[in-house]
């Protein structure tokens, strides 16, 4: 299995940056997420995580560094958290960090909601 890397960009749509590392299990999803075909974009991310958590099974540290995402993307982010939660429930070692602008109270609420929905602990890290 290989690393998954997608360069973020900001044009007509906003493509988030993706950096999932097989060697150390550190995954980063950052930038802004507003896409033409949201589910189609996130599908390879789900597949990578499912493969990693079922075959490699080493600890995962997932770092969210998103500054903006639309509601379609928000649904896909929940799906990522649910995959990580499944891994944790099956004995996997999962750590989730969410970096956010300390003045962005909307983002703080958003992460709290994700914690309730996914039942996964997320470390809120103000920057």
């Amino acid at each position: 299995m290989e690393n998954l890397e997608i360069k973020g960009s900001r044009d007509v749509y906003f493509i988030p940056s993706v950096d999932f590392n097989v060697e150390n299990g550190i995954c980063v999803l950052g930038g802004e997420s507003y896409l033409e075909e949201t589910v189609k974009f996130y599908m390879p991310l789900y597949e990578w995580l499912k493969k990693y958590t079922s075959e490699v099974k080493r600890p995962v540290e997932f770092n969210f560094k998103l500054t903006y995402f639309n509601t379609s993307s928000s649904r896909c982010i929940l799906d990522i958290l649910n995959i990580l939660k499944d891994f944790e429930e099956n004995g996997g070692d999962v750590k989730v960090n969410w970096y956010y602008d300390s003045e962005d109270t909307d983002m703080e609420e958003e992460v709290e909601d994700y914690m309730i929905e996914s039942e996964l602990k997320i470390n809120l890290i103000p920057t």
């Binding site: 749509y13 033409e36 949201t38 903006y68 639309n70 649904r75 909307d106 909601d113 309730i116």
Partner: protein, 179 residues
């Protein structure tokens, strides 16, 4: 357009000087991108409100793009036609968006808006979580656009429905964002 000659002056004077942006036309991805960029530039002096306006803009503009009953089919299938006006006042920004909807769809939209306006912030967050857990809607919609607009604006949604004929109505949503 009716046979009466279109007066651009009448259209122009409809808006007062507090208007930042007004647009009527197809909400295609390029227009969304241009208006989105413009919002970020002009509201850069107030980043917090600017970010909120941008977030609200994307949700409401995508609603129009996907769900307007008027569209330009030969240009882009996801380019529903609608109207958008953003105004700036002393203490707040106002956001008004509207489009034609099928009369049969309007009941659902009104019901949803009434639920949203009946809930406090905690209730809204819970409603959003419930809706986000529902199966994915058409075109990747997460059913939570309007809920997110109310949360982002931190103010109620003002909904108005103007019947056009038996088949169609014009749906207007207004929301204010404090500066």
């Amino acid at each position: 357009m009716s046979e009466e000659k279109f007066s651009l002056y009448n259209y122009h004077k409809t808006f007062d000087k507090d208007i930042l942006i007004s647009f009527k036309g197809p909400f295609d991805k390029h227009i969304l991108s241009i208006i989105g960029n413009y919002i970020e530039v002009i509201l850069g002096r107030n980043p917090k409100a600017g970010k909120k306006i941008f977030k609200i803009f994307i949700e409401l503009a995508q609603n129009i793009a996907y769900y307007s009953a008027e569209g330009i089919t030969n240009v882009n299938s996801d380019a529903g036609i609608g109207t958008l006006v953003i105004g700036e006042f002393d203490n707040h920004y106002s956001f008004v968006a509207g489009n034609v909807v099928k009369a049969s769809d309007i009941v659902h939209i009104i019901e949803k808006s009434e639920i949203i306006n009946s809930l406090d912030r905690e209730g809204l967050r819970q409603y959003k979580r419930e809706q986000r857990n529902m199966p994915q809607g058409e075109k990747g919609s997460a059913h939570i656009g309007l809920i997110q607009v109310a949360l982002t604006a931190a103010s109620p949604l003002d909904i108005e429905v103007t019947p056009i004929n038996e088949e169609y109505s014009f749906f207007t949503i207004s929301v204010n964002v404090e500066k």
